[in-house]
Amino acid sequence: MQTVIPKTSAALLSLLRADFKTQWRNRRSVVLLLLVPVIILISWKGLIEQMNKAGKNGGAFALSSCITIGLTAIGLMGYSNAIARDRDKGVFQRLRVTPVPTWSIMASRLIVQLLLILLVTTFVFIVGSEYDKVNLTPAGYVLTYLTAFVGGALYLGLGQMIVGLVKNAETVNSTTRLVYFLFIMVGMFGDLGVLGNEFQKIIRWTPYGTVKNILASSMQPSNWDNTSTLALLATLGYALLFSFLGIKNFKWNTN
């Protein structure tokens, strides 16, 4: 009898179809994921004008902050919780006994997350343009999309690290909420200088600060400087470190 190994591309297509359907059925959580950065962007209209008057680029500051918040939510609230839940329920074990390479199971999940990154970034651009009248050059838009993927990789890596180090789905949920809250509150207020100058300097080199920096710099490509390059390298470093720890410690089941 001849054994036929299913084509990885065909299997990946089936997995993608199922993962997109799953995401579509969870569209309420996607709406919530989009709402947080959009609400912040709308509420910062006054702040953008104030910063512009003070000679700072308020538009880039607001858009980069909101995209960073959206990316944090995707990696921490969406991806890691979905992985923890499916691992807990045995969904991965069922897929692992099929003749598909295990990387394709995760690749399918990550492709869906990349689409969400695209969606959040686009939403922030649209609201920024329509409501706050913040518009970028075509190069600025393209570069920002690219850096949003790099920043997204960092937060997906962070989500992977949490789901790798924490086995219990409920604990993953509470840990990601706590980390998300810390990132948003400390990152945002620290970046605004509310928590003091020293804290503001430290925040710039945290995963929140480096992602925000590369996004803000991408929005004005002419302003890209050495600090932006260092922030990009730091972002890539964080992404690699988190992903390495997340993949190394990841268990496909909770038993």
């Binding site: 009898m1 054994t3 299913p6 084509k7 065909a10 089936s14 997995l15 045995g90 692992r96 006994v97």
Partner: protein, 260 residues
């Protein structure tokens, strides 16, 4: 299925599985033939599920070889997996997907051409045509088992692995599942199942292996095992109705102590 009945489709030799310092499976060897239902019996923690998980490729054995349809699971894991269908103990599918979508997903993974008519036929065969748009968790235990079995066999594998498939089923659903297993055997599939039910082992298994503390104690047909051990004092002591049953032999060989 055109497998030659009697030829080995699963060959396990000298299998050892450990979890840290705990040696769960010790030098286990057995084979499953085409057109045979092979039962794995043992108390909790005997090593049944660990053995099955090693065959399924879900855990790496410390030593030993496993070959499915002639393919070594270490050297050719995807070929081995393509030749087996698996029904896990706690099967779960993405809770957002409907029954029809789950079947389509696995048909796609195995590159099985599934037309609307074929899907309809499958759903009719498992009496779930009116539940195709239901989510898996909304089905009863018996319905869930039928869907799991359809998915395990959607690619017509030579070997079907079933981990305690009748646990929690009512007598009607259990009988129906036994009939499905017997139909598969008649078509030439080899079936390896683990069970705690002696009634099930006697009713459907052609051969059984009794495991305890990671070792295979005995392998034979249910009747031969009873005949071989009927004069064993521990078995006689375990007998409750004067007549020696498979359960008496099982208790006699594995002891009366409740395992956790």
């Amino acid at each position: 299925m055109n497998n030659q009945s009697g030829s080995s489709i699963l060959q396990v030799d000298g299998l050892n599985v450990s979890y840290g310092s705990f040696h769960a499976v010790r030098n286990v060897s057995f084979d499953v033939k085409a057109g045979e239902i092979f039962g794995f019996l043992g108390p909790n923690g005997a090593g049944k599920t660990s053995t099955l998980s090693a065959v399924e490729g879900l855990l790496k054995p410390q030593s030993g070889t496993i070959s499915v349809a002639g393919f070594d699971t270490k050297k050719k894991p995807l070929y081995a997996k393509a030749n087996m269908g698996v029904q896990l103990q706690a099967t779960s599918f993405q809770p957002e997907l409907t029954v029809a979508e789950i079947i389509k997903l696995y048909a796609g993974i195995y590159c099985v051409d599934l037309t609307k008519e074929k899907l309809q036929n499958i759903l009719e065969e498992i009496k779930l045509e009116s539940s195709s748009s239901k989510r898996f968790k909304e089905l009863s235990g018996g319905q869930q088992q039928r869907v799991s079995l359809v998915i395990a066999t959607i690619h017509d594998p030579v070997l079907v692995l079933m981990d305690e498939p009748t646990t929690g089923l009512d007598p009607q659903s259990r009988r129906q599942l036994w009939e499905r297993m017997e139909n598969m055997r008649d078509k030439g599939h080899g079936i390896l199942l683990t069970t705690h039910s002696m009634e099930e082992a006697e009713a459907v298994c052609d051969r059984i292996a009794i495991m305890d503390h990671g070792n295979v104690i005995t392998i034979d047909t249910p009747q031969s095992i009873i005949d071989t051990h009927r004069n064993n004092q521990a078995v006689i002591n375990a007998s409750r109705r004067g007549k020696i049953t498979l359960e008496d032999v099982f208790i006699g060989l594995t002891g009366k102590t409740v395992r956790t």
